[in-house]
Each structure stands twice: as C-alpha cells, then as structure tokens.
Symmetry: C2
Subunit: 133 residues, 2 copies
C-alpha cells in the first residue's frame, strides 16, 4: 500500500469490463507505442532507443520498458560485458500487437485529412474571428 508508484502503469486499476480498454490502457502510455515500433526491427539497445525516440527521457524509457517487459511484450537481455550492454526485443505476442497497431495506423493515414478538416470546421464555427487584429 505504501508503494510510491513511480509512474506509467495503472497498478491497481479497477476491473475493466471492456477488453478494448484493457489493451489501450496497456499501450496508452505516451511512449509505449513508439518503443514497440522502434524495437520492431530487431534487438535494440537502451541508448539506441533513447536516441531513436527523440524527446523521451531516460526515466520514461526505463519505466515504459519495464512495463512492456512486465506484460511479456519485450525481453530484456543483459550482456555481462565491460561496458554494460542490454538489448530489448519484441516477443511474438508483441509482434502481433505491432501488426494490429499497423491497422490503426492505416486507418489514421486514410482519414487524417478528414479528421483534420472536421476539427478545423468545428473549431472554426466557435471562433469566427480570424479576420485580423
């Protein structure tokens, strides 16, 4: 109970009725998906992820990685060399997820413009003073 909960994962979470939310909660972290994508090409090192993701902090990288590992989505392999070398790799399950996410991407791509326009239209109706200063 005195767990400080350092971040990211909803540990206690109320039982989800809906399985969709269950997935989303797991992937909804700000960085989870990007890590999944970055690691999709094959084993990748901590620092490579850090530099590859642009904007992520060490903390969030570690945290998110831990959660993915916890859920069995990535494996962590420590090579006991002189300069520590740790590699992360997607598990088969995560690869499936990655493919599914791909579908979402496709949807996003297809409808990006539609949505952007919908937003613009909606926002435009409410702030009808773009005339000038």
């Amino acid at each position: 109970m005195s767990q400080r909960n350092t971040g990211v994962t909803p540990q206690v979470v109320n039982a989800h009725a809906c399985p969709v939310r269950e997935v989303l909660d797991r992937v909804s972290g700000k960085w989870s998906v990007q890590i999944l994508v970055a690691a999709a090409h094959g084993p990748i090192r901590f620092t490579e992820l850090e530099r590859g993701i642009e904007g992520i902090s060490r903390r969030m990288l570690t945290l998110t990685l831990r959660n993915l590992e916890r859920d069995g989505l990535v494996t962590r392999t420590v090579h006991p060399t002189v300069p520590p070398r740790v590699e992360y790799e997607l598990t088969p399950v995560a690869r499936e997820l990655h493919e599914t996410l791909q579908r979402l991407t496709d949807w996003a791509e297809r409808n990006r413009v539609y949505i952007a326009e919908a937003r613009a239209a909606y926002d435009g109706e409410r702030e009808p003073e773009p005339a000038d200063a």
Copy 2:
C-alpha cells in the same frame, strides 16, 4: 491563449511524428472507446449513453462526446422537442475505426492470459515474500 481548457483534449498538441500515436491520443481518453462501442449499434441518446456506460460522469460524457464530434467521429442531432432530445451516431469513419478496434480486442482476448501470467511472474520475482504475515 486564455482558453481555460476544460479537459480531455490536447488542443495544442505538439506535432506527432508517429501517426499511431495520433490515433491513440484520439482514442486514449478513458471513455472514448466505450462511447464508440455503445454508439455502434445505432443512434443513441445522451441519457442512454450515460446509463449504459456505467461509471461515466455527465461531464466526461459531454466532453468526450464533444471531442468525438469535433473529430468527425460522431454526429450530434438535436430534436427540438419539448424535452430536449439529442441523438448521437457514429460516422462512417468512426465505424471503420470501430472495426479496427475490434482487431485490438481480438488480440487482447487471445493474449489476455499470457499477459496476466507474464505480469504475475514478473511481479512474483520481485516480491518473493508471500509466505504469511
């Protein structure tokens, strides 16, 4: 600039490099998906949603609905009757999304156990004192 931002939507959002995140951000709201699901069967009224979703507050229902409307995912139809009657319905684009989300659900269903076990195992390794009080 003096927008108070009442909640939910990341208005200003930093340009997302990754389209996946774009979708997720749009759907990652705590209630977005459930509303999408609830409305998938056809036009549905505000109160019906409120009672059907269990646990959602009026505030969040309204806000999430607004966002979905803004993104062109739901349509809002006001029937000018004596007791106001408003119906929400998914747009075709949202229906596509709904189908895609279905894939995610399937993935979740298939691997629910796997993940649960992975978690249990991971957590178990770190708290090896379940002996007794």
